[in-house]
Every structure is written in C-alpha cells, then in structure tokens.
C-alpha cells in the first residue's frame, strides 16, 4: 500500500537523566493525493513527528510504513536511498546550497542518485518554469528573494518525483502573499500528481488548503474538526479560478 502510515508510534528522547516523551502513541494514515496539516504549540513534537516520517529518526515504539516499507526494517543505507527517491523535504528556511544556481540546486539531487541524464535537465527546467522561476535558472540563492528561494526548495523537493512530501513550516520566512503561493503549490502537487503531503505549520491561514488538520499537543496527535470543511478544496479551486 502506498502513502504513509503511523502505527502506535512513540518517541522518547533520553537526555542524561531526563526523558522527554516527544511523541505519544501516534497512529495516522496519509493516503496518496491527501494533504494534511499538523499544528500545535512549540515543543509539542511536530518536528519530531516529521523527522520520523522522513526516516531521519527512529521510533522508540511502533512502526512507520512508507509506501509499504516498514522503516524499522531498513538498513541505514537503504534509508538514505529511500529519502532520496521517495521523500521530498521542504524545510523552514529554504536551505539552498549557497554556491549552486537555481537549476543546479535541482540537478544535485539527481547527482546524488548517480548519473545526470539529459532528460533530468529538461525536467528540472520544466519544474522551475511551472513554479515561475524560468527567468532565474542561473541565479545563485543570494540573488533571489525569500519566496523565490522557497519555491526553488520546493522544486528541489519535487525533483525526484517523490511520493511523499514533508514540509516543516515552509512559510515561516515568507510574507502572507508568498506563503499562500507556496502552500498552494504543495497542495497542487499533492492533488495533481497524487502524492501524500504533510505540512507542519504555525500559520492557521494556511489550513484552508489542507484536507485534514491534526493538532499536536504534548506528543499526542488529535484530528481537529474545527478546520474540517465539507466542501474539501473549493476554496483552493476558487482562488485558482480567480487568478486565471
């Protein structure tokens, strides 16, 4: 089965004598084509949740099934491979490599996998064009605006056509107009290309693009009904209609 599945996942941080239960018995399924948001106060465990989903952190208890693969059972080397091929990370700040231009930021992801093919370059250009960066291919991160940087990072996350998209506060460094654009892009990618997407955010205005909203509190995850909209993505669709 594809998508991502948490089964009774707990995470205990051990720091000297202190123990922090960062995640407490979390179960959750995110299907392909579904875009969910996780909100919650600082320190509640959101980043931990995302790190586990992204195969960067081991669970203390429970298991994570990603595209049918149990992450607990994979070797470190295969986890690296899985991150490269099946997960697209979008981070709080764009975290681009300072000495690579926009196009190369995407190509380096292909390089990590081995050879760089001609088609990859074409695909990267297409991707950047669809994100409105066609004129910026040769620019270095320092020559870009915050929004452009974040869009480049999004394009980078999509470059390997991952089936899971994970975003940790992708809008934190953006003004509200850019923030809306960026989240729309993620929502759009999840819908049109049938990907499972999880976004951690503080920004409640962004929740309108999501199918489901979960609230994290002291390591527990609860489905939050107050943001549940019967009409699904109409708001998103309205916005797109208006823009066209």
């Amino acid at each position: 089965m594809s998508g991502i599945q948490f089964k009774n996942v707990s995470k205990l941080y051990q720091q000297g004598e202190n123990q922090v239960l960062a995640l407490d018995d979390i179960s959750l399924t995110v299907e392909q084509g579904e875009f969910i948001a996780v909100i919650g106060p600082s320190g509640s465990g959101k980043s931990t949740f995302l790190a586990i989903a992204g195969a960067l952190l081991q669970t203390s208890k429970g298991e994570v099934i990603l595209n049918g693969k149990n992450l607990n059972e994979l070797k470190p080397k295969n986890l690296v491979r899985l991150r490269l091929e099946e997960i697209g990370f979008i981070l709080q700040t764009s975290n681009l490599v300072p000495y690579l231009n926009v196009l190369e930021q995407l190509l380096v992801v292909k390089k990590m996998a081995g050879k760089l093919a001609k088609v990859d370059k074409g695909y990267a250009k297409e991707l950047l064009q669809s994100l409105g960066l066609a004129a910026k291919l040769e620019k270095l991160p320092e020559q870009l605006s915050g929004g452009e940087r974040q869009r480049t990072a999004i394009a980078r996350a999509f470059m390997n056509n991952p089936s899971i998209i994970l975003a940790d506060e992708p809008t934190a460094s953006l003004d509200s107009k850019r923030a809306h654009e960026v989240v729309q892009l993620i929502a759009n990618e999840a819908k049109t290309r049938n990907k499972a997407a999880i976004m951690v955010t503080h920004d409640e205005r962004m929740l309108e693009y999501c199918d489901k909203v979960y609230r994290m509190e002291d390591g527990r995850l609860k489905h939050d009904d107050s943001f549940n909209r019967e009409n699904g993505n109409t708001l998103l669709e309205d916005k797109q209609l208006q823009e066209n």
């Binding site: 960067l56 091929e85 490599v97 000495y99 690579l100 390089k111 951690v200």
Partner: protein, 373 residues
C-alpha cells in the same frame, strides 16, 4: 566533482589562499629535493657512478677512503674470492691546482685527485679528448666543470705544495668527489703526490685507499674474516661514508619530512574548518538523500583538484627557478624524485582530507529539520 568544482569557483579567494600556501610548500619541497640531490651528487658522484657493488676498506676506517690505507696486492687476492668478478684499487687526495699554461687564468682551483688503474672499470668514459694511458703518468682526465674555470685539453697543471705536474688529455662528466671536481690519474702519479713525504705510506707496499669490487652476492662477512685488517661494505655504505654526506642528507631529509607534515596539517585543518562551517549544509543534503559517499567524494575531489593544480604550479616554479640559479649552486633536479615528491604530496593532502570525510559521516541530517534552525 559536481559540488567540488562549483564550490571552488564560488569561493575563489579562500581556495586561492590555501592554493598559494600549497604551491609554496610544494615549491619548497622540490627546491629542497633538488638541493639535496645536488649536494649528494657533489659529495659522492664518483662513488655513486662507479660500476661496483662492494668496497673494501682498512678495518676501523668506517667506510671512509681518507681513513683507509691498504696494499694494492690485496686486490688480486680479493679477485680470486667466490662471487667477486673484478677488483680495482683507488686512491684519493684533495689538492689545489693552478693552470700552468700561458692561456689559462691564474685562479687556484680545489680538486680531488683520484688515482686508479687506466682502463679499469673505475675509469669513467671521456666525453672529450682521450682516456688515461698506463705508461703516461703525466696525463690526466678531469671533470668538465673545470672547463668553466678556463681549463682546456692540453693545459698543464701545477699542484700546490708539490713539484708534480699534470696535463689534461680528456674531460669526463658528472665526476665529483667530496664536493670537489675530480681529476683522474694513474696510481703512480697519485702516490707520488699523496706520499711525497717519507714515511707517510706507513711502510705499506704500493698503498691504495680502497678496493672496489664487482660481482653479485659477495659475502662481505667472509671477506672480513678471511682478510684480517679489512672491512668490506656495500657501495651505498661507502657513499654514506663520504665526508659530510650523512649530515647533509639527514638535514635535508628532516626538512623535507617537516614540510610534508606541515602540508598535511595545513590542508587537513583548512578543509576541516571548511567542513565544520558547512556542517549544516551537509546535514540538509543528507536529509535530501545524499549519502556519505557522495559528500565524502565531494571533499576528496576538491582536495585533489586543489592539490593537483598547486603541486603542478610548484613543479613549474621549481624548474623556472632552476633556470635562474647560479651555476655554482649544487642544485640538480631529478625527474624521478620530483615525480615521487609530487605524488607523495598529493597522497598526503588526500589523506589529510579524510579527517573531514570522517566528520561528514558524523553529521546528523536531523539538524536540517525545524528545531535546530
């Protein structure tokens, strides 16, 4: 290479600085090796050149010709020993010569006078003129560096503090002994110079300084037992026994070793600091799926490129400097040595980058995620 080259281009200044340091270290390494090579040639070229495998000295002389005195008759006995295919005697004296011809300058020149049997394997081939003759004890062949001092074939030489005269009939190449240009004479001539004072030959009949042996697998232990009062050593031990040879070589080798160690540290520390600075960036790349191998290769290839270019520049600079060095400088570049030290520097710089590679493997991609920002 993808990351390595682009970062080199982007951070030109910082990489240029470290590159310049590497160039200077490499330059110094090659200059030193040239100097060491030049000095050891000057000190012992004749011994190094000779086609012998072992040398027999007087016991207690510690492989030094100047301390050793043997009888020529011993050579014949040595030649009859198993595995010894030939044995030839040699004598060495230091002296000062004056050009006695009308055309010559009156500059005095220090030389080494080497006596040997004409036509033996110890007599080097002449590049100019004719070889020694057994019955012509006036005739000598000289190292061609004397040409620069104004000596020519046919010139007669006066030896200071002696009534002996000599005449140059030929020139040989690259024959220096004890830091001095060598002049080859017959044994008789050499003896009449060396043992001019009565009693200085200690009563030994037909004295010589050493006997050079040819032949593989000579059992030097057995020779030492068989011939009391002798000591047979390998040719390289005889080279080491040349006055000042060990000391000069040791000093230069020590400087080279320090330089190589310094270069390892400078490069190692530089790249380690760079890696530390970029550890967040590496963490992000790891979160995106970069393997340790991918990132490690980026560092190593960067170090390789930088060192390769710098070392090559160092080699070119060295050969450039060699062109403008004064002739008297004992400086000679041996291509084999240059290549060896270049490779050594390259290997050392790559090894030094492994510290950074190790650091990379320890970087946790988790730091790329939210909390750490």
């Amino acid at each position: 290479m993808f990351l390595a080259i682009r970062e080199l281009k982007h951070g030109k200044l910082r990489f240029l600085m470290i590159g310049v340091i590497t160039v200077m270290i490499a330059w110094l390494v090659f200059m030193l090796s040239g100097l060491g090579n030049g000095l050891s040639t000057l000190s012992a070229a004749t011994i190094k050149n000779m086609d012998a495998t072992y040398v027999t000295f007087e016991d207690g002389s510690r492989a030094s010709m100047s301390r050793s005195l043997l009888s020529e008759s011993l050579a014949e006995k040595l030649e009859n020993q198993p595995n010894v295919s030939a044995a030839t005697v040699m004598g060495a004296t230091m002296g000062t010569i004056l050009n006695n011809s009308d055309s010559g300058t009156n500059e005095k020149v220090d030389i080494a006078i080497l006596g040997t049997t004409p036509g033996s394997f110890l007599e080097p081939n002449v590049i100019d003129g004719k070889p020694l003759q057994a019955n012509e004890s006036l005739e000598v062949i000289a190292n061609d560096t004397l040409k620069k001092k104004g000596f020519k074939i046919g010139d007669t030489l006066k030896i200071e503090g002696s009534l002996e005269k000599m005449k140059i009939v030929g020139f040989v190449n690259n024959e220096t002994y004890n830091h001095l240009p060598a002049i080859f004479t017959t044994l008789d001539k050499w003896r009449s110079i060396q043992f001019a004072a009565p009693g200085s030959d200690k009563g030994i009949e037909k004295p010589v300084n050493a006997i050079m042996l040819q032949g593989k697998n000579i059992d030097s232990e057995k020779l030492n037992q068989l011939f009391k009062n002798t000591e047979t050593v390998t040719k390289s031990a005889a080279v080491q026994g040349m006055p000042g040879y060990k000391e000069e070589n040791g000093t230069i080798m020590m400087m080279l070793a320090f330089l190589l160690a310094i270069s390892a540290f400078v490069l190692g520390v530089f790249f380690y600091v760079l890696t530390l600075q970029k550890s967040n960036q590496f963490g992000i790349l790891k979160a995106l799926g970069a393997s340790n191998r991918f990132l490690g290769r980026a560092i190593v290839s960067q170090v390789f490129l930088l060192s390769f270019v710098s070392i090559t520049a160092g080699v070119l600079l060295t050969y450039g400097t060699a062109l403008i060095l004064p002739d008297e400088m004992p400086f000679s570049l041996d291509l084999k040595l240059v290549v060896l030290y270049a490779l050594l520097l390259l290997v050392i710089s790559i090894l030094s980058s492994l510290v950074s590679v190790r650091k990379i493997t320890k970087i946790d991609p988790l730091q790329a995620i939210g909390r750490m920002e």
